[in-house]
Symmetry: D2
């Protein structure tokens, strides 16, 4: 366990459990907390979050095509979802599922709801593991799920019909900070490995560490990491002091800046390690795969940059 | 067969066979050609090339620590080699092995020799497959080999003692052009996939294809690909007309420019595909893994840039 | 004369005369050729091209707000134009002016016309020189012109009413190739200067030329230049063989690739020269100013990238 | 006055006065403070700092070839210096001059001394103004000075013979923070101008502000600025709390990060402004010229990156 450098599992502080637990703590009923939050906190079970669909661009939440249809005291769920991190894990017992209860609602952000689906409910099928680059991260990893006429009690709905988008938004802010904090740690370890490596390798009569191209890349990595860390710290501070909504520009900024920083730092490290860098011997290719995925997970860079740009433009208009 | 996008196997035109066949055609004796070149050309067997050592930075060939020691009518070979593409393939029957016959020779480029080692010789062990970004490419792929007191007839030596560096140099030029040509093809297919994808995905009410960021990236990809292709064509032409030595700046230039171009084009495609981009469904993560490895294989970018820079500086001094 | 590195004036091969002469040769009447083309070819006079307006984004030609109104046997011209290269030059005798004859025409590309305006016509005022990064290039340079009820004979109209956009398009293709060819030459001279400089400067006990960062940048410059040159040559060849319309993707590609290449090469040279790089002693700051302007002149990068992207997307749709 | 965006002059807080006043405050005698510091603080006079020589790469202080030779109660000064900011200003009355008192001293950092030279001393000649790109910033700006047998009292020496390098080092740290703080302000104003501009310009039926390429660049600018600002604030804090020496990695990091950030932000702004961007109408070309010079002033990026890289490598060795 705990092999994935971006997903430390001690104390269950890895994605998507951290975000899911926050949702249950904020919006769950007492019964839901008893049944799911408590064992999650204790690390006895794991959870997953089902929202990304292969058929549409899910970075626009209004594209969602999965359905949650009321039927008496139950909801009936249908949809095909992928990139559900943790779903293939045997310990995963509960799914937070996002779908549309009211696809015709005039407010496009009130069409969605979120509901709890126990993993062993009839109609839930794990279709396959999804590798990231060539890594399937078995026995954990991410999966593709099929929901066919899955029936759960109506009490499993979180917060109320039409509140799904709101919950997802509230969940994503802190989740992004968690991702970014793990990424800063990964970048630091990567730079350490690189420094250690370049001191021991000699080419053309001189350690690689003494080449100015090497010094330049180490310096760039250090500058990138320190700037990214400070932006994450500032973001966390604004969230604490002024709330997630006030911090939404900062949250979007770290979601873009930190994974891009990590991609560059790891890429530089791969190059400095030579052929060993693309192998599994130093964990760098794996780290790159995860860093690269982070530029897409929870919304691709492009979506966040658009939001940052719009918020910036609004500042000037009010001036 | 033929699944690896950079290594088409029809007509046996994939690395490292193309380069190895050229070596046998140029430097092999009639007997060697009969025994190894003919079946390689006919695609009945495969070959590998053993030169990169885990213990040293092999981009500097004078670092080589493997030994080829004369013992009567035989040579005795010892060393540990990795990144031997094709070695794990069952069809691989012959190894072109690089090692030092005369580690004390005052000319550091006359210390090495190249020798033919049949795969089934006693003392040759395949230690493991080496994955590239998680892909082990079984049943082909690249491997780590151990040579312990491997004994082959003295007639297996190619060209003569101390000629190994010379053969390797002669082999690498055309090999690099082959790599680059395959990479151009890969880039074209990647751009096609991207264009097809962005037309079908809609976010925020509009196909991704109509966003100016998408147009910008497609344009950049097209500009990068066309420039890279023209440089490869020019390089091949200089080699044909004036020989590999005259073309050494151009060969080094495409070795840097083309894999970097491919990395950028594939990375852009991954981003445009969203989560599908890092999966195996569109072959993009795999393509990236191979493109990234190409920036290290046959000498990392840094070694080639140094050479290009030096050749450029020489021009001015003669002015 | 001839000081501007991008605008050699021997044989009058500098912008905008080359493009203007091509327009006169293709669309001028015999009388117009006699009066203006002949003295231009002989270098006795100079010309300018007035199309860019300060009030609107002129990269979209349909934004043009200048007017050319028929009045009996004359046209009456009004407008404010800037970035008219060559206008402040005393030798400049003739203006090719673009404006709207029919602002209400349903085809937005038939609203514009082009007309010849002798520089000394009443109502034409040179408002000021426009510096580029502080360089006003006196006594040549670029200027801002005011046209107030400027009256010229109706025979001065080129090709016919509503043909202005068509002429401008035909003019711009070759003009872009000329710009790019001059830029390739500038890049080569810049790289030469850099190589010469780094050999003579010593820091921390070693010539800058021997630092791997220096070698890396020289190598990158050489790779960029050679790729750009090949793309320009290919573009010129497609234009010759298949015509400007067939070559429009290539023309747009070099318009983006070459000035960006030149900016990078000159920027690298500035850094390698130290403080001397931003001074006027080596011509590098001036070269940068011109290279940077080229990314905007004749349409900014963004407009060309959009066009290249759209042409690429069309390829796949027809597949 | 105060026209240069990076050199506000109110309260005399512009370079090089801020740094020079710090030197006088720390190392000046009471008499020196009375004569020079007091009028500088009151803004009645200006000062300059003479250390960069055209003949050698001054980023390596041991290259200095100017001489300060003891002769009885005087020192005699000879040398040719350029990039002396403020020297052409009529209000400039005092020069802080760096030269070698003991070129043969075995410790290469004890060969230099710093001395006060009144501007009107016989033998001091202002050779010329040095433009940065095309801007000479008259009546201020930077100049080239010739020192021919310039004789000043021995009491003008600061701190003692062989202490010049030490003073220069102590001076440069805070000076770099000042530069960076001004640059952050410049970047903010540049981004504001850009936001205002893109809202008012329409191309192809839509404000530039709504194009995703525009949003992307505004977002990147905001991310770059905020990260840079946080790094400057952290640096200033480390200097306050732990001293300049402890902060030397951070000082070097902002010296690289901030001017590069500013170059990118201004370059993006230029492109968004179209042809107006390279003119003087929005101050952007001027801002770029200053930002670009900052990548060289007080040591080029390369020197600082080498230092940052070395400090990083030291961390791992002590681990």
């Amino acid at each position: 366990m705990g092999r994935s450098p971006l997903a430390p599992e001690a104390f269950n502080c890895s994605a998507p459990d951290t975000g899911n637990m926050e949702v249950l703590e904020r919006y769950g009923t007492e019964a839901q907390k008893q049944e799911w939050l408590q064992p999650l906190l204790e690390g006895r079970i794991r959870s997953c979050f089902a929202m990304t669909e292969p058929a549409v661009a899910s970075s626009d939440a209004t594209n969602i095509s999965s359905t949650i249809r009321r039927d008496g005291d139950h909801y009936v769920i249908n949809g095909r979802i992928w990139w559900t991190t943790g779903a293939p894990d045997r310990r995963c017992k509960i799914i937070l599922f996002m779908g549309k209860t009211d696809p015709g609602h005039p407010d496009r952000h009130r069409q969605q709801s979120m509901i709890l689906v126990p993993m062993d409910t009839s109609g839930v099928t794990l279709l396959r593991r999804l590798p990231v680059f060539g890594y399937d991260d078995a026995p954990n990893g991410t999966g593709e799920l099929l929901f066919e006429d899955v029936r759960v009690p109506a009490t499993n709905l979180l917060l109320g019909e039409g509140r799904g988008f709101e919950i997802a938004q509230g969940r994503l802010g802190p989740g992004r900070v968690h991702h970014c904090m793990r990424a800063i740690g990964q970048a630091e370890r990567t730079l350490e490995k690189t420094c250690a490596r370049v001191k021991t390798r000699v080419t053309f009569g001189k350690p690689i560490a003494e080449q100015t191209v090497t010094l330049e890349r180490i310096a760039e990595a250090r500058i990138l990491i320190d700037q990214a860390r400070l932006l994450v710290l500032k973001t966390a501070s604004v969230m604490d002091v002024a709330g997630n909504r006030t911090a939404r520009a900062e949250i979007a900024m770290i979601k873009v800046a930190v994974p891009n920083m990590l991609c560059r730092v790891v890429d530089m490290a791969i190059q400095a390690h030579g052929a060993a860098g693309v192998s599994d011997d130093f964990g760098l290719a794996k780290a790159y795969a995860e860093a690269r995925a982070l530029r897409i997970v929870d919304g691709p860079d492009e979506v966040h940059r658009n939001q940052i740009g719009r918020l910036e433009l609004e500042k000037t208009s009010s001036a």
